[in-house]
Amino acid sequence: MPTIPVSNSECGGGCGGAPSAGTRRDFLKQGAKALGASVATIILCDMTDLTKMAEASGATPQRANLFADGYDWTKHSYVYLVDIRKCIGCGSCVRACSRENNVPPAHFRTWVERYRVSRSGEAVIDSTNGGMDGFEPSQTGLDITKAFFFPKLCCHCTHTPCVQLCPVCASYRTVDGVVLVDETRCIGCGYCVQACPYGSRFIHPETHTASKCTLCYHRITKGMTTACVQACPVEARMLGDMKQVGDKVAEIIATQRVLILQPELLTDPNCYYLGLTKEAR
């Protein structure tokens, strides 16, 4: 019967003779030290982060250098104003938004609805392709006594239902008052799409993440206005900043009879409407 050679490693460092004595023990010791050190580093780093977070939860604004280009988001608070009485329903805003933000076909970050209301209060509401191709004259079969266009977009609510229920903290509201989606975190569950009472969110058909109006955050942080506001030929849409002295929109909000959509929901929207009527909802 042939003998099977037994390697030293099989019986560990204890029985293998002088060269390998204590090898495993040393290895384990070194390993434990390295592991301990890395864990300690991680814990220390996290402790520093936690301290930062504790500071951040205080009233004082935190690191001012979040934006490399010198934009200071603590100095802005954006509001939006739509004057329904001025809107001509041309759809320029919808086309501009779509091109600016590469919005997928048949999805809209802003859109225009047409309301045609009869004396008895019956309303015909349409928004073919979000109003992107304008509106066609059409028959309603009703005796129309009131008609208007109703542009819509994300209201950038102060108390946002969509942010509150996001299970992965992908939706948030910035310090300057814009509700955004972190597409790298969004899992596309669609809760926010259901939660938004204004219908302003959708699931992007390609990325499968929630998508919505960003108030052209890439433009407003560079001192530009939003694509939709710039495109509007009749100034039915205006972007304002409550923290700017002498802001035109802030002045209108302060002096005129502006309304918000669905105030009963207590979402505290930052999109204000002039000329809103009871049928518009």
């Binding site: 979040l66 809107c87 001509i88 091109r99 955004l180």
Partner: protein, 156 residues
């Protein structure tokens, strides 16, 4: 100290549990999360870093000052060039021309604003396109509007 080893075991377990928690937390939470609130603040700068597609109100005047001035004199003064044409990015990038600016079909683009609709505000100039073309003895084509109007300054 008869039962010391029980205490040591319990403490050891606690230390292991705490370590596992801290490690799990470290690897589960993305960088920059929680700096300003329960979100990844790098996402804010990612949004802000996107390149604008539409130019600013005066972007076109850099090369087309004559057209811009001509438009500014007329009733289309408040109409953005990009509203009828397209976003600046298809035409210019880094001050270099990258493509032609599209020109829309006048009958379509004029109609977006001026086709008569009940919902448009009264006082805004509107016409029934077909009737207007017929009344002026023209035949309906894509560019029939340009027979009488200049799109950049329509009263001309």
């Amino acid at each position: 100290m008869e039962h010391a080893k029980h205490i040591i075991r319990a403490v050891l377990l606690l230390v292991i549990a705490a370590t596992v928690f801290v490690l799990a937390r470290h690897f589960a939470i993305p960088a920059s999360f929680g700096e300003y609130g329960p979100y990844r603040s790098a996402s804010v700068t990612e949004h802000a870093a996107r390149e604008p597609m539409h130019g600013e109100a005066d972007s076109c005047a850099g090369c087309h000052a004559d057209e811009v001035d001509f438009k500014a004199e007329g009733k289309h003064a408040k109409l953005s060039c990009e509203s009828c044409h397209a976003q600046l990015s298809v035409h210019v990038h880094n001050d270099q021309k990258v493509g032609d600016m599209p020109i829309p079909k006048p009958i379509e683009a004029c109609g977006w604003c001026h086709e008569k609709l009940r919902a448009r505000p009264e006082g805004f100039p509107q016409i029934v396109l077909a009737d207007h073309v017929a009344e002026n003895g023209e035949t309906m084509t894509d560019s029939v509007c340009l027979e009488c109007h200049n799109a950049h300054n329509p009263s001309e």
